[in-house]
């Protein structure tokens, strides 16, 4: 499975596996994730809840929940292995190379600390020397995120912020140490519609202004399609199909990707449909295709052989026995 880091990629995940030991036994949220992110690009990951999207982002930062560990595969940052970083290196990597924006903006902020303290601490986290007062940096950071009155916001506490404001503060925190990759874990899910658009625009604009790359995950294909140039479809702890947005949205190859697209067909006004069958339980390891129980194109080989991996050129990749160009 391991093909080594792709040339020029910022981040390369190959065959990443995560196991979490819980009281009721082990869970395997990631079962071999392959993914590359190149400098300055925007990549989106889509999938049902529980497919391992959030865990993929956490494995990139090596932030594991209690009992969780990366048990297989490699995570490469440029030419370094993230899994081999020591504590100090990891601390520098987090925040100044890769940073994350969380799903629930209010709970991602410490309720006991002022906005100013949190931004200043994030600023100081990975900088030995700041040329200027950290408060000035914090004010600038908020101004970048279109806060009209940064001084008033700096004095506030998280519970005094609306969801949209809190998420903009989170974006400022993530951008504080100038990372070249931003991970966004459903950053607009909890916000109302108009705020969603504004926050998403602002996020894109700030990320592009810094020439940073963005890895954006959502269960909402529309949101991902709006932002991402390349899209990966996740199912049961794997990226089953990856490719440029246009390909994925118009002619996806994986049966799951097609089913997902039909669910949220952007072209018709029909009621969204659901995919028959059950979401796979991640307490099991799936050496064969995990989708085959629900798949309309199931073949004999699906029950016998492990998933083949088709590299289709132009960064397209497919994990399916059907292969490309069946139709």
């Amino acid at each position: 499975m391991n093909s080594g880091p792709a040339d020029g990629a910022l981040l390369t995940l190959s065959g990443v596996e995560v196991t979490i030991n819980t009281l009721s036994g082990p869970v395997h949220p990631l079962q071999g994730v392959d993914l590359e992110v190149f400098p300055g690009e925007t990549v989106g990951l889509v999938g049902e809840s529980g497919c391992g999207k959030s865990m993929t982002l956490r494995s990139i930062l090596r932030l594991m929940p209690p009992g969780g560990a990366i048990t297989g595969g490699t995570v490469e940052w440029q030419d370094r292995s993230v899994l081999d970083l020591d504590t100090d290196e990891l601390q520098t990597y987090r925040g100044s190379e890769v940073a994350m924006i969380y799903q629930n903006p209010v709970t991602a902020l410490d309720p006991m600390l002022s906005v100013e303290r949190q931004i200043v601490d994030a600023f100081k986290a990975n900088r030995e020397v700041l040329d200027g007062a950290p408060e000035e940096f914090a004010r600038e950071a908020l101004r970048d995120l279109e806060f009209g009155n940064p001084d008033a916001i700096l004095k506030r506490y998280p519970h005094q912020l609306s969801g949209g404001m809190a998420q903009r503060v989170n974006i400022a925190l993530a951008l504080a140490c100038g990372p070249s990759l931003i991970l966004a874990d459903e950053p607009t899910t909890g916000l109302d519609m108009t705020t969603q658009v504004r926050v998403l625009d602002l996020l894109e604009q700030q990320v592009h202004a810094r020439n940073a790359a963005l890895l954006f995950i959502s269960h909402d294909l529309r949101a991902v399609a709006r932002v991402a140039r390349n899209i990966g479809i996740m199912y049961a702890g794997r990226v089953v199909e990856f490719g440029p947005r246009e390909r994925i949205l118009t002619e996806p190859s994986h049966p799951y990707a097609r089913a997902l697209l039909e669910c949220v067909d952007l072209r018709t006004d029909e009621r969204p449909r659901s995919i028959p069958g059950l979401v796979p339980r991640m307490t099991e390891v799936y050496p064969l295709c995990a989708f085959r129980e629900r798949c309309v194109s199931r073949m004999a080989v699906c029950d016998e052989e492990p998933l083949p991996r088709h590299e289709l050129g132009g960064r397209r990749r497919l994990l399916c026995h059907l292969g490309p160009g069946h139709d």
Binding site: L61, L63, P66, T87, Q91, T92, Y93, R94, G95, S96, A99, M100, Y102, N104, T107, A108, L109, D110, P111, M112, L113, S114, D121, A122, A125, N126, Y157, H159, Q160, N170, L173, A174, A176, C177
Partner: protein
């Protein structure tokens, strides 16, 4: 607003305590026989009752008590004829010092082990803490006190034997702790400043005396800490593990903040309010709840004083201790509220 609210609550709580305490103490007996004996004539008893105001209607007695109380007059012991306020001023510091050191001991074991158990559940220190907590809640405090006295004071001088083969004489050893007879062993207490002998001795520059006072405090404090510390251990453990699992802790790590910073800045800060609350509650509880340990160690505190008062149906003594304990409770809560108010911005809005 917050302050005004608190003061009103405080007044209502205290009035209720006085009323209930007054009713209960008046309905459980009379100090007449304890102070006069039984072999006196009806006339003398009647005369004494008249002197003490016991023949007045209960409402009038209550009103008299309340007006005196508001002037700081807690009454006079019907037995010793000493004003209750004087006795309390002497005995409250003894209890307060013991309870204070109890909390110090708890802050040495229960809270650090609780923090550790919250950070690393299932670790060896977590198991040690849980073991101590299990032990502490299952033994009575007075029994544990007696056990300590037996093992550390009584037993060492009585160990005296010879190991046969190598012909080695073992013991007797000096006792490890002083006899359980109060706050100091037969020496004069330091000049009264705070009423805490350890502190007053240090103020007087007498280190030997301070050491002596501390030495007398250790066993009662450890006894009370082992039996009152388990809730502190458990609450700390829960608070820390909850704070640790919060999204903002993961987010703090993701910005590149170090483990130490996140632990102190986010985890401990967010875990501290419930722990602080319980520590204050424990303090308040022990002011009255350490009675049996006071008795075991002959500690001249207000617990022993209340027991003495009850033995003699000495209304004013018992009632005064109840009121003092309630006042301390209320004041402690008020202080904790102020601290939390200062710490937690959510309470300020």
């Amino acid at each position: 607003m917050f302050l005004a609210n608190r003061v009103v609550v405080l007044a209502v709580v205290l009035l209720a305590v006085v009323m209930i305490g007054f009713t209960i103490t008046r309905s459980t007996g009379t100090p007449l026989y304890a102070s006069l004996g039984v072999a006196v004539s009806e006339a003398i008893i009647e005369q004494r009752a008249e002197e003490m105001g016991l023949n007045e209607p209960i409402v009038v007695q209550f009103w008299t008590y309340l007006t005196h109380l508001l002037q700081g007059d807690l009454g006079v012991s019907r037995i010793s004829r000493i004003p209750v306020a004087e006795d309390i001023a002497l005995k409250l510091p003894a209890t307060a010092e013991m309870v204070f050191f109890t909390l110090v001991v708890s802050f040495i074991w229960a809270i650090p082990l609780g923090v550790r158990a919250g950070l690393r559940p299932g670790g060896r220190l977590a198991k040690l803490g849980e073991g101590m907590a299990q032990f502490g809640v299952s033994v009575p405090a007075f029994w544990l006190g007696l056990l300590f006295i037996f093992l550390l004071y009584f037993l060492p001088p009585r160990i005296n034997f010879v190991i046969p083969v190598i012909d080695l004489a073992v013991g007797p050893f000096p006792p490890l702790f002083p006899p359980p007879l109060g706050r100091l062993g037969g020496v004069d207490p330091p000049a009264m400043v705070t009423g805490f002998y350890t502190v007053d001795a240090l103020i007087a520059g007498d280190f030997r005396l301070a050491w002596e006072a501390l030495w007398h405090l250790i066993l009662p404090a450890v006894t009370l800490s082992l039996t009152s510390g388990p809730p502190l251990f458990r609450v700390t453990r829960t608070a820390v593990s909850e704070a640790l699992a919060s999204p903002f802790v993961e987010a703090a790590y993701s910005y590149g903040l170090g483990r130490r910073t996140v632990l102190i800045r986010d985890v401990l800060r967010n875990a501290s309010p419930p722990v602080l609350n319980l520590a204050a509650m424990t303090f308040g509880y022990l002011i009255g709840g350490g009675v049996l340990v006071e008795v075991v160690f002959s500690w001249p505190g207000i617990g022993s004083y209340a027991v003495w008062g009850m033995d003699n149906s000495d209304y004013d003594v018992v009632l005064a201790v109840v009121i003092i304990a309630a006042v301390i409770y209320v004041i402690l809560y008020f202080i904790v509220d102020l601290i939390q108010f200062a710490m937690d911005p959510r309470l300020r809005d």
